[in-house]
Chain length 321, copies 2
């Protein structure tokens, strides 16, 4: 695979340097209970403690800080109902730029409030992909803002890759790093950092069974989009992109899927035992361990805890209880 | 004040050394959002990430590891419905000793299960202080176990003091350290470490208004017991002890009280913004800042987050919502 200079080792190291004044160097937590449970040495890179509560701050800040000043005048734009919307709003505010965010009209109040809090300028639209895309096209046309796609963007991928870079710098030898996969920005970036900076290490993706497009695409080596994904892991409902998919094909060792039940169980386990708030998407790699989907016995296993944005009034065990 | 050798600087340093193979060196977290809110530099020593989910692991392990082997044969005992019960059970298991735990019959299922999990041998009693004390006396008589009081015990106090010791070692200059106060083991121990190892630093206690016995005792310089304390901060309902009270009188700068509403608000704020699970007792110092009870502007303020043991099926905002 030919190395794309925008996501080459140097680009990831540059991204890390570029965003370091703004992001948190997140802690790596360990737990004897967890290690005993899985007979492995687990390391949790806690991106739930990242700015805006998710790894998305890395990619968004790298993308915004990489733009020419001439472009920043007109701002940046995206459509997102999730963490990328907050991350891009936050990143734009760092350089006194504007973030135009297209959000579906059924977005949760909490997420809308968070985007506003970070200074994002919201345009609501019908809750369909078509409406999101046409509304964003209109906004881009009206404002001349630069679109920053949540994952299918090389600066975003290089930014997300810095989580694994820090992880490897801090912990050293890891046999594998497991990351959840939605659009593939985090998993793709992680696989690049592992490829470049952790020789011999493996990157593994973990995905909900009920949104298993990455698993199917990876297994069939052919892009298969996500159709009506119905998973509690709201960060993982999107399909891979034409930039992230080849990276994943080239550098990811395997992708495993997990049930909804395991996701909720793993999420609650992390809350109760580790005392950290993680969102459902973050629990997917631990769910994979709980389902014995990966041979981790005796290994040093890194897990990227992707984020911690949940609605405390609407926890999954309240519904299932 | 004459220095008691059991809680002298050397005793605290020895305790730290004694327990270090068994406890977690807990991380210190910071948050720009929190700093901005209070116009101060806040440092959170996260004892919710401690063994058994609370600082109590420090005192209990120090107390158990300080006992003669001849005493360990008969085990240790206490009455407790809270974190000390778990901590003592865990500590006894470290040295293959036994922990006899007297628990009121109305203790939460979760806490009973946790004590059993750590190997504690439970005797249930009526939920009154008198029944707890007479039952414990009977157990002590039957087993020849050594009583380990949850706070009115010098080894326990020296153990709890190690949290502040680590805190000071790691962060260096702090203008003050705020700790919640129940029986005074944590606050007393903290005040000793500040006195010995942080010259010029202040120790401040934070307490629920609805369990303000420490505030009253401190203000009146006379022991006033807790009477029918009705606070969500279940770790802080106990009265001071005859050992902890003089330490607090001698070394604590001030004690402030907070409303129940502020405790829940601060707890939820810590969950949402810091992505850490803290129990109500842990939120009391932050509640004091929210109520503007302390002049922290421009200061470097350490806060001891005492624990993270909560029932995820019974969160306070579920009731209040």
């Amino acid at each position: 695979m030919k190395i794309n200079p925008n996501i080459a080792p140097f680009a990831i190291l540059e991204a890390a340097k570029r965003i370091s004044p703004f992001i948190n160097r997140t802690p790596v937590l360990t737990s004897h209970t967890l290690n005993r449970l899985f007979n492995a040495q687990l390391f949790l890179k806690c991106e739930n403690f990242q700015k805006v509560g998710a790894f998305k701050a890395r990619g968004a800040s790298n993308a915004v800080l990489s733009l020419d000043k001439s472009k920043l005048v007109n701002g940046v734009a995206t459509h997102s109902s999730g963490n990328h919307a907050q991350a891009l709003s936050w990143a734009a505010s760092l350089v006194n730029s504007k973030a135009f965010i297209v959000m579906p009209s059924n977005s949760s109040k909490i997420k809308v409030a968070a985007v506003k809090d970070y200074g994002g300028i919201i345009t609501f639209c019908e809750p369909t992909l078509a409406a999101r895309e046409t509304t964003l096209a209109r906004i881009l046309d009206q404002t001349d803002a630069t679109e920053i796609h949540p994952y299918n963007n090389e600066s975003i991928i290089a930014g997300q890759a810095t989580a694994a870079l820090e992880f490897i710098e801090e912990i050293g030898e890891l046999d594998m790093i497991i990351a959840p996969v939605g659009g593939g920005g985090l998993l793709g970036g992680t696989s690049l950092s592992v490829h470049y900076f952790l020789p011999g290490g493996r990157t593994v993706g973990a995905e909900p069974e009920q949104a298993n497009d990455a698993f199917l695409s990876f297994t069939n080596r052919k892009f298969i989009p996500s159709v009506n994904p119905d998973t509690i892991a709201d960060g993982l409902r999107t399909s891979l992109g034409y930039i992230t998919f080849p990276i994943i094909l080239g550098h990811v060792h395997s992708i495993v899927t997990v049930s909804e039940e395991s996701i909720v169980k793993a999420m609650r386990y992390l809350w109760e035992r580790m005392k950290i708030m993680v969102e459902p998407s973050s629990a997917v790699p631990v769910a994979a361990l709980m389902e014995n989907k990966l041979d981790v016995a005796g290994k040093r296993v890194g897990i990227i805890i992707s984020g911690g944005n949940v609605d405390l009034d609407d926890l999954p065990w309240m519904k299932n209880g």
